[in-house]
């Protein structure tokens, strides 16, 4: 959306004779057209409001167990829990923004741990080569998905499900049980952090999120991502080459999943071919993205919101761990929270949608949208 609407105010702002009022107006419109307008801000704020609420409740519940939620160790635990799902969810946000989906992330995560551990063989001298190898393999997986989605018109759901199945078959056939050994330097990284409160893995997540956010806001690629997610046909008719951003985004998502796998490896020390599917990162990352206010049909959302969604999950998990909730019951609570939170959120975004097109006619849904998910948010 943004990239295309960005053009409209241009004629108004470029003429020399333009008055300052017009200029301010055009600036305002251009801002509104950006992915993060004023409206978007308070929907992101809402997520963080929910997060604060969840933290308060968790702190109370933790205190009732006689423990301190804000103790160094606990904050470390929450932030560590955030980092893996967070990296995956940041990548997933990109893919969902462009109107696709990535169900292959758990297998890419497993693949990354296995390849990296197998390459390192417990030696620091192998570290850089193994890292490059791993990330290249992940990028290739993402590239294949991107090409399937953009060039061959395969729905993202199917393309990523299929690629995920292919990778899982490869993993199941060639690796039984744990494999390889992480290098000591990587394991050290997994344990390091700042002041025993902020683990390095969380800093990696923040850097990745920052870079992706900057990419989305200030680069052509980022604006094209929003444009294609909003409506692929309109974007194409407006002169956007739709294939490249879709491929780029899938590659980035797989790279981030691979990075998440490396973080997991730094903690476990060995490559595990089922670690990704056990974590169910595919569905949980999608849930976190949607919880963070990104439209599942693409074109609207932000990485900042996603981080909020991930944080909500991490805090919930943490408090359920402290309260020693049955692990099966955890799933029950998670499912409940996902539906309730998104129910609150989805209704809000219905109300919120039209003002983006301030003053003009109400937005019509995209009839030929490729996304399989609901377009009903837009119907209002």
């Amino acid at each position: 959306m943004s990239a295309t609407t960005d053009r409209t105010p241009d004629p108004a702002s470029t003429p020399d004779a333009a008055s300052s009022v017009e200029n301010r107006e055009s600036v305002r419109r251009r801002r509104a057209a950006r992915p993060r307008g004023a409206r978007q801000l308070d929907s992101t704020a809402l997520i963080y409001l929910v997060l604060v609420g969840v933290i308060v409740v968790s702190a109370v519940l933790t205190a009732m167990e006689g423990r301190n939620f804000f103790s160094q160790g606990n904050i470390w635990a929450v932030l560590t829990a955030m980092s893996v799902l967070g990296l995956i969810a940041v990548g997933q946000t990109l893919v969902i923004l462009v109107g696709s989906l990535d169900l292959s992330v758990p297998y890419v995560v497993s693949l990354s741990t296995v390849i990296a551990a197998g390459g390192m063989k417990g030696l620091d001298s192998n570290l850089s080569a193994a890292l490059v190898n791993t990330l290249v393999v992940c990028a290739v997986v993402g590239f294949v998905m991107g090409v399937l989605v953009s060039v061959f018109d395969v729905h993202g759901f199917i393309a990523s499900l299929g690629v995920g199945l292919i990778v899982s078959g490869y993993l199941a056939t060639n690796y039984q049980g744990s494999h390889g050994d992480a290098s000591p330097a990587l394991e050290l990284l997994g344990r390091s952090g700042i002041a025993a409160v902020i683990p390095t893995s969380f800093i990696i997540l923040l850097v990745a999120a920052l870079l992706v956010t900057l990419m989305l806001r200030y680069t052509r690629l980022g604006h094209h991502v929003y444009a294609i997610g909003g409506n692929r046909d309109v974007a194409r008719l407006s002169g956007v080459r739709t294939a490249l951003p879709v491929i780029a985004v899938h590659v980035l998502c797989s790279l981030l999943a691979g990075l998440a796998g490396l973080l997991l490896l730094s903690r476990t020390g060995v490559g595990l071919p089922t670690i990704g599917s056990q974590g169910r990162y595919d569905l949980l990352s999608i849930a976190a993205v949607v919880l963070g206010g990104t439209l599942l049909s693409g074109g609207k959302g932000s990485v900042v919101g996603t981080l909020g969604g991930v944080a909500i999950f991490a805090v919930l998990d943490n408090v359920m761990g402290v309260m020693q909730v049955n692990p099966f019951l955890k799933d029950f609570v998670r499912g409940l929270v996902i539906v309730l939170a998104v129910a609150v959120y989805a209704r809000r975004s219905v109300v919120r949608r039209p003002p983006r097109f301030a003053g003009t006619r109400p937005s019509l849904p995209t009839p030929g949208s490729i996304t399989g998910s609901t377009t009903k948010e837009e119907t209002a």
Partner: protein, 370 residues
């Protein structure tokens, strides 16, 4: 194949509908070229391949048992079809199956008189789950992917919590007979499994349902919910019913699976993706509005035949997933091109796709005209 065409006449004004012209034979041939028809050819090819590898597979008693084994996934696929053709997803299917299996195991136990109440209870649970999914999607406007993911986590977690994650309870044998038993001493077939009878009944009912007003509205809703709503369809109720049908199909699949697999909360794990794969393999388009219900069932058969084929070739079972992945990608990539043949000019306007008739109304530029 023509059962699923509800293409609005308005969009094709000025030319005859390709699906209604020509002789019956021509239409069958043309139908077989759509993804929904091609899956039947795929089933035939795979069947020949399996028989070629293992001749005894083609004998009627063997074959009917294979159909009986495939019945649960085929029924689940038909249930998933309703949801997908209406433009949504149902990820809760596996969890529903697990729930029903556990309910059957614990409620019935050794008490034979409880079989009928148990079936009623399971159907009721199915309706409730479908209602929750449907209303969450339509009234609360939560994407169906998320709602059904939520019910999947919640139901699956609850069932595992209540059973402790282990097999519990064992329903009386008369109940398990539904899944594993059959009518004995049938002439050619030797034995006619009840699951095959149920499968045929469900298939007939599905075809009838998709030809009834409900089915027409469902496809119209999947194609364009706003147009369907403006034309007077109650979109929310149509979609909700699709979710109820899906959950009920999962229930029936669960009842059959009790006979095969016994009572364990992991029965039905992964069924949702299996069913979606089968539906997609049957040429049904994700996003709604295209596809035939029997193609979905045929997709399930194609998948199972493929697995049997790999089994007989003695390929390691771990490669199953890889083959499944390759197959669905190929199937969908092929159908993404093929669907643009017969129907309306596609909005994606793939210039590579050959036009059915080199005439008017084709440019696909409705969006650019105004």
């Amino acid at each position: 194949m023509s059962a699923s065409t509800s293409s609005p006449a308005a969009s094709t004004a000025g030319r005859t509908l390709p699906l209604t012209e020509g002789s019956r034979l021509q239409r069958v041939v043309r139908g077989a070229l759509t993804p929904g028809g091609a899956v039947f050819i795929l089933v035939a090819v795979l069947f020949v391949a399996v028989v070629w590898v293992n001749p005894s597979f083609g004998e009627p008693p063997q074959l009917i048992r294979f159909i009986g084994r495939t019945a649960p996934i085929a029924i689940a696929a038909m249930g998933q079809y309703y949801v997908i053709v209406s433009g949504e997803f149902d990820l809760s299917m596996g969890a529903v199956i697990a729930t029903q299996v556990v309910v059957a195991g614990n409620y019935i136990g050794d008490d034979e008189s409880r079989v009928l109440p148990a079936i009623a209870l399971m159907l009721l649970i199915g309706v409730v789950v479908g209602l929750v999914n449907g209303l969450g999607t339509t009234i609360l406007r939560v994407p169906s992917f998320i709602v059904t993911l939520g019910t999947m986590l919640a139901l699956g977690g609850l069932v595992k919590y209540l059973t402790g994650g282990a097999a519990t309870g064992n329903p009386v044998d008369t109940f398990r007979e539904i899944g594993r038993g059959g009518v004995q001493d049938v002439p050619v077939l030797d034995v006619l499994p009840y699951s095959v009878i149920i499968l045929v009944a469900v298939a007939v009912a599905s075809v009838w349902l998709m030809r009834a007003p409900f089915g027409r509205t469902l496809i119209a809703t999947g194609d364009n919910p706003d147009a369907a709503g403006l034309a007077g369809a109650k979109v929310w109720w149509v979609k909700t019913r699709a979710f109820i049908l899906s959950a009920l199909s999962a229930t029936v699949a669960g009842i059959l699976l009790v006979g095969y697999a016994g009572v364990h909360p992991s029965v039905g794990a992964g069924y949702e993706f299996q069913a979606i794969t089968a539906v997609v393999l049957g040429g049904v388009v994700l996003g709604g509005g295209r596809g035939w219900v029997l193609s979905a069932a045929a997709g399930a058969f194609a998948l199972e035949l493929l697995f049997s084929f790999l089994n007989f070739l003695e390929i390691e079972s771990t490669w199953r997933n890889t083959v499944q992945g390759v197959i669905i990608i190929l199937a969908v990539a092929a159908s993404a091109r093929a669907w643009s043949l017969g129907r309306r000019p596609t909005s994606r306007s793939t210039p590579a796709a050959p036009a059915p008739s080199p005439t008017t109304a084709r440019p696909g530029t409705e969006t650019g005209e105004n």
